[in-house]
């Protein structure tokens, strides 16, 4: 193989995170950079999201996924930023050597900084406790979305959806509009996982029933799915066998969560957070391996693309600083109470930061505070918060080096 190609920055993934990071770097004078994208076109998951609702924060317009992606792709092309599609990154080392495979063969880059922007993948059937056969007709929501929206292939006629994440809700509407009969959406939690707007516009508008505290326990069928068994669950999420019902259907769509795609990060020895599934990062979005940074769904799952773009632009500023010299050390650990996880996990002294997290359950009048040594550093009250919407909390610069805890509780019931 030839000598590695030297680059200031190599960006792994050309979704909204990779594109926004590249543009921001270019604007700030970093010209020696390349985006590597596995698919034949850049744009990431947005290519198949033909519904609208993207860009509300950033552009104050309800754009569809491809339209949102174009707002970044056009300037990337116009500025002549190096972008290789059909190029899969297969290797990454802690010395920032990137190996990529494409039709042109194998290419290696030696980067001064690497940006992880590989997005996430969907949790599939194998990860779920379902008995019975493994017939055809079981799809993850994103795969069904790609079949219907990109390939013009219908996935089935009589459809059950497991999980009420936004993608599942969007697909309930999409499949109904395409002439399928969506029998119902089953959600193991006592509350919907998706945004309230999507519950109204994707289910209620089409009279699709939402069964909370329910799950699918068994698949039936030989070659093709013929039915599923659904069960109510108790408050420990254990199925109650006496409530089991058999529902004839030919298709089961799974919308049961996304997993950040971190095989490459692991290869480079980047430490991962068991709660986010993404890398542990400091407030500059640098991972535990110096010079390797992460933004977007590979870091933690985002609900809105606007947030991904903003995070990637913030990251670009930090990479520019890094290229000029090392970033300050971040020894201060951050933990959460009443929220699933907090990103970033490490803070430095003397520089303000923004923390992102999700409340554990839907809450009215959510109070969020950051506490250090028993002292409240900052506090915010949010009229309504759900796990479906990420919360951001700006915190002031820290003088002290002891750990920071983020606490979420509602006004009436202080945190336990």
């Amino acid at each position: 193989m030839n000598e590695p190609i030297m680059k200031d920055v190599v960006i792994l993934g050309g979704g909204p995170a990779g594109l926004a990071a590249a543009l921001a770097l270019h604007e700030q004078g970093v010209r020696d950079l390349v985006i590597l994208e596995r698919e034949p076109e850049a744009g990431g998951i947005l290519r198949q999201c033909i519904h609208d609702g993207f860009g509300l924060t950033r552009f104050h317009e309800a754009l569809t996924g491809p339209e949102y992606a174009k707002r970044f792709l056009d300037p990337v092309r116009a500025e002549g930023i190096e972008l290789h599609t059909g190029t899969t990154v297969t290797g990454l080392t802690d010395q920032r050597v990137v190996t990529a495979v494409s039709r042109r063969g194998l290419t290696q880059y030696q980067a001064r900084a690497v940006i992880l922007a590989m997005g996430c993948r969907e949790r599939a059937a194998g990860a779920l406790p379902m008995y019975g056969a493994r017939p055809a007709g079981v799809f993850t929501a994103g795969v069904a979305q790609a079949y219907v929206n990109l390939c013009n292939n219908m996935v089935g006629r009589e459809i059950v959806i497991l999980g009420s994440g936004d993608i599942g809700l969007i697909m309930a509407r999409r499949l109904t509009l395409e002439g399928a009969h969506v029998l119902g959406v089953y959600e193991i939690l006592p509350h919907p996982s998706g945004l309230p707007r999507n519950v109204t516009q994707c289910l209620d508008d089409f009279h699709i029933p939402l069964h909370l505290s329910h799950t699918v326990t068994e698949l039936h069928g030989a070659a093709r799915l013929e039915a599923v068994t659904v069960c109510a669950v108790d408050d420990q999420r254990c199925p109650l066998p006496e409530t089991a019902r058999r529902i004839p259907c030919d298709t089961l769509i799974l919308s049961v969560g996304l997993i950040p795609e971190n095989e490459l990060s692991r290869m480079a020895g980047v430490q991962l957070d068991s709660q986010t599934g993404g890398p542990v990062v400091d407030q500059f979005l640098q991972t535990t391996v110096p010079g390797i940074f992460a933004a977007g769904n590979v870091l933690h799952v985002h609900d809105v693309a606007d947030d991904v773009s903003a995070e990637a632009e913030f990251l670009a500023e930090q990479v520019v600083r890094y290229l000029a010299g090392p970033l300050p050390p971040c020894p201060i650990a951050v933990t959460g109470r009443g929220c699933g996880h907090v990103v970033p996990q490490q803070l430095c002294r003397g520089e303000a930061a923004v923390l992102s997290f999700r409340p554990a359950a839907p809450r009215r009048h959510l109070v969020v505070e950051a506490v250090q040594d028993g002292q409240t550093l900052c506090r915010r009250t949010i009229p309504y918060a759900t796990p479906a919407q990420m919360v951001h909390l700006p915190i002031p610069d820290l003088a002290d080096g002891s750990p920071v805890e983020v606490c979420c509780y509602d006004d009436e019931n202080p945190a336990v």
Binding site: I50, P66, E67, N149, P383, Y384
Partner: protein, 126 residues
């Protein structure tokens, strides 16, 4: 008099609105943190509006489908009719993003816009 509850979906505050109605008219709204909530409730309970995003068939294109949306939302009651009409539509490649594919959908005064570009493919005839 009748009361109805709904969630305002205009912003992430997601206010829980309680609305009083006399017949078809909205007479009061509580629970909204801002005035837009009352307007939202009136619209949702009298004539809900929705945009439509779906795909139309393309002939002679690199892809079989072109995704579309409407230039403005239409009444929810006309949505099925609109989708049926769009499913019967075939456009000819090339299609540019933002191209108007239908001028006046169902006489509602809204346009059908393409949301992706589909290049034409040229077959060799020999």
């Amino acid at each position: 008099m009748m009361t109805k509850t709904l969630l305002c979906s205009l912003c992430p505050n997601c206010c829980a609105l309680t609305v009083t109605m006399e017949g078809d008219a909205v007479t009061g709204c509580t629970g909204n943190l801002c005035t837009q909530g009352a307007d939202f409730a009136r619209q949702e309970l009298t004539m809900p509006l929705r945009n439509v995003t779906t795909s139309v068939a393309v002939s002679g294109g690199l892809y079989p489908l072109c995704s579309v949306r409407l230039s403005a939302p239409i009444p929810l009651s006309r949505l099925t009719e609109a989708v049926d009409l769009l499913h019967g539509l075939t456009v000819t490649a090339p299609v540019a993003m933002g191209q108007v594919l239908l001028e006046d959908l169902l006489g509602l005064g809204v346009q059908v816009l393409s949301t992706r570009s589909v290049p034409a493919i040229h077959f060799c005839k020999d």
